[in-house]
């Protein structure tokens, strides 16, 4: 356990808490730069998906994990990002402009949607955003002149200048760079006044208001930022798959994104990446174990989703704080080494005191 004597307030909001943290992140980045040279194409494409979903989950994390506003409609922003980028590049707009445009349009829609439903909280907000996602999905199906409806839309591989991202490795590096930029941006947003206002809103709206935080303004900003990142991820997704149709952006995707954020660990940027990795790698691991199953189970198509559901239940049962919670505990264990107690993180089980009618 390290203790630093803080001598000024800026130490609280430094990008890296300790000097060694910076070193470890640098090691992680260089590791992920070397990694694709050692893996086969299939695994690289899975890593690309992790980067992509991590960007989207990061968007949702800003909204749900840091501002405390639950959204079950992020598939809509993802879809808007995908379609904006696909349509713009098909019209000849370069990818380097289409990518931010996808994010910006999603962000603008986020403001338009976020503004009128700001006063909703918790469950009601979740359901309202879910309704919004259904409406967007239906628009994508019906606006055939623009989106080609259920026929689907073919997307070109992205290119910047003369560099075309058409191989798995190149696309992986593209996604990785965007993920790192997103992480960097998110980390910086969170230590800025805006980010701290968002966290204050999550912890107590009343207290935040008393501190002079304009709830409507910062909730809208959170919505816009969140939609922006998710839109960027959507753009990457479209260019990765080459073919998109409205079926990829159903409520299941929204629920998956939310589950990613929660399983990863709410209120931590690590959690978004952990959650994305969990959602991409676990099905792969399940497929690998398939050969060791009884013959009757091997032939079932429902085996993977069933096991996946079961594992989600088990993970939450044993670690309700998400993977990041487990990470913190492990870290704490080694820092405290002989002194760690089993109950260090034990929460008091309490009955809800909320007065409801």
């Amino acid at each position: 356990m390290r203790f630093i004597m803080k001598t000024n307030y800026y130490q609280d909001i430094r990008l890296f808490k300790y000097r060694s943290t910076f070193f470890w992140y640098l090691a992680l980045v260089s590791g992920s730069l070397i990694l694709p040279l050692l893996l086969d194409e299939y695994l690289i494409s899975q890593l690309t998906f992790i980067c992509m979903y991590a960007v989207a989950a990061m968007g949702l994390m800003l909204l749900t994990g840091y501002t405390g506003q639950v959204s079950m409609g992020h598939a809509a922003f993802f879809a808007i990002g995908s379609y904006t980028s696909a349509i713009l590049t098909s019209k000849g707009v370069p990818f380097i402009l289409a990518l931010p445009a996808a994010g910006i349009l999603a962000g603008v829609v986020g403001i338009l949607i976020g503004r009128p439903i700001l006063h909703l909280t918790g469950l009601y907000l979740a359901i309202a955003t879910m309704g919004f996602a259904f409406i967007v999905d239906e628009i994508l199906i019906r606006w055939e002149s623009l989106t080609r409806g259920n026929m689907g839309f073919y997307v070109k591989p992205p290119s910047i200048g003369s560099l075309i991202f058409d191989t798995e490795i190149r696309f992986y590096y593209l996604s990785l760079v965007i993920l790192i930029l997103t992480l960097f941006a998110a980390r910086n947003i969170l230590r800025s006044p805006t980010g701290r206002a968002m966290i204050a809103i999550r912890d107590s709206e009343v207290a935040a208001q008393a501190m002079g935080i304009n709830l409507a303004k910062f909730k809208t900003i959170a919505f816009a930022l969140s939609a922006f990142f998710t839109g960027v991820a959507g753009s990457l997704y479209a260019h990765k798959l080459f073919f998109i149709n409205p079926e990829s952006y159903t409520i299941i995707l929204s629920i998956e994104l939310l589950a990613m954020v929660i399983i990863g660990g709410l209120g931590s940027l690590h959690g978004a990446v952990f959650g994305a990795a969990f959602f991409i790698f676990l099905p792969q691991v399940i497929i690998m174990t398939r050969d060791y199953m009884p013959v009757y189970l091997q032939n079932q198509t429902g085996l993977e989703p069933a096991l996946f559901g079961l594992l989600i239940i088990l993970v939450m049962l044993f670690e309700p704080m998400g993977i990041y919670g487990r990470w913190l505990k492990t870290k704490y264990y080694f820092e405290m080494f002989p002194l760690y107690k089993k109950d260090s993180f034990k929460r008091e089980k309490k009955y809800q005191k909320a007065e409801r009618r």
């Binding site: 006063h119 309202a128 409520i251 559901g309 007065e355 409801r356």
Partner: protein, 295 residues
């Protein structure tokens, strides 16, 4: 006259579908009121109920009413089992963790159903006493299948209402949903109330399943009806039992009218547009009570 008949017919079928939405919504609301958890697996409980009643009727040749009773018992038992094995150990943990567990359960049930021998991924149907029977009221032709849903739901609401109003345990459940701590002080076993809540919610899902299956048939994706029941529950105020049924009926009627009179595509989103509209004007739903914000 024809136009009036047409509208009445559409509204009636809307009401009966709405009753099923209402039943699912009732399950959501019951669990939410008691434990503050949204049970995403409620639609899947309906699907399980439909599959169980299908096996009982089509495979084991149970009479309809016996199958209905048996389904209620089996589903109730399953609900209790779920609460005991999975949800009880999560009491006191953050609510969102529990919500994710219910999402995991819904994934699991949906896929597990396809693995059980005799169930699988196909679509099934079974005969009920109401199949191919109609009632004529003037020019109006009503199918018994629709009428049965409305009647059984009404009876069920009356039973539930008197249960919550007049029995000791019903009162205990209402008390728990108002203030858990106070309920514990009064000597109510909150864990037993939770257990019973899940039992009732699962049984309601089962009844919804057996009622819905003559109309949509039995298949593994039936559970997605749960997504339609969300707006129903929210419209009713997510905390009010009659509100859930009224919300369900509103959603059902809207959907059926939109499907009949508006261009294709509106049917699926009409309910959501109404929901968002209502929420913008009345954030607490139609029957919800505005809560004072506490510091």
């Amino acid at each position: 006259m024809d136009v009036v008949n047409e509208i009445l017919q559409t509204i009636l079928s809307g009401i009966s579908i709405g009753c099923v939405y209402g039943l699912v919504a009732l399950g959501f609301v019951l669990i939410f009121k008691a434990t503050e958890v949204i049970n995403f697996a409620q639609g899947e409980l309906l699907m399980l109920g439909a599959f169980i009643s299908y096996s009982l009727i089509a495979m084991l040749n149970f009479p309809y009413w016996a199958a209905l009773l048996a389904t209620i018992f089996v589903m109730g038992f399953l609900g209790m089992l779920l609460e005991r094995t999975v949800l009880r150990s999560l009491v006191g943990e953050p609510v969102y963790a529990i919500v994710i567990v219910t999402i995991g359960m819904s994934f699991f049930f949906r896929s597990a159903v396809s693995m059980i021998p005799g169930w699988g991924t196909d679509t099934y149907g079974f005969r009920t006493p109401f199949t191919e029977k109609i009632v004529r009221a003037g020019e109006l032709v009503i199918s018994w299948e629709y009428l049965a849903i409305i009647l059984i739901t009404t009876a069920l609401i009356l039973v539930l209402f008197s249960f919550f109003r007049y029995t000791r345990i019903g009162t205990a459940m209402r008390a728990t949903s108002q203030n858990q701590l106070a309920a514990v002080y009064m000597g109510i076993s909150v864990t037993r109330v939770f257990s019973l809540t899940w039992t009732i919610a699962a049984a309601l899902g089962g009844i919804g399943g057996i009622l819905l299956s003559p109309i949509t048939f039995v298949h593994m994706n039936m559970g997605f009806i749960g997504l339609k029941a969300f707006p129903a529950a929210v419209l009713g105020g997510f905390g009010s039992l009659p509100g859930a049924i009224v919300g369900g009926v509103i959603i059902g009627v809207t959907e059926s009218l939109a499907g009949f009179y508006l261009p294709e595509g509106w049917k699926d989103i009409a309910a959501w547009i109404i929901l968002i509209g209502v929420l913008i004007i009345r954030p607490q739903g139609l029957f919800g009570i505005q809560e004072k914000k506490k510091v």
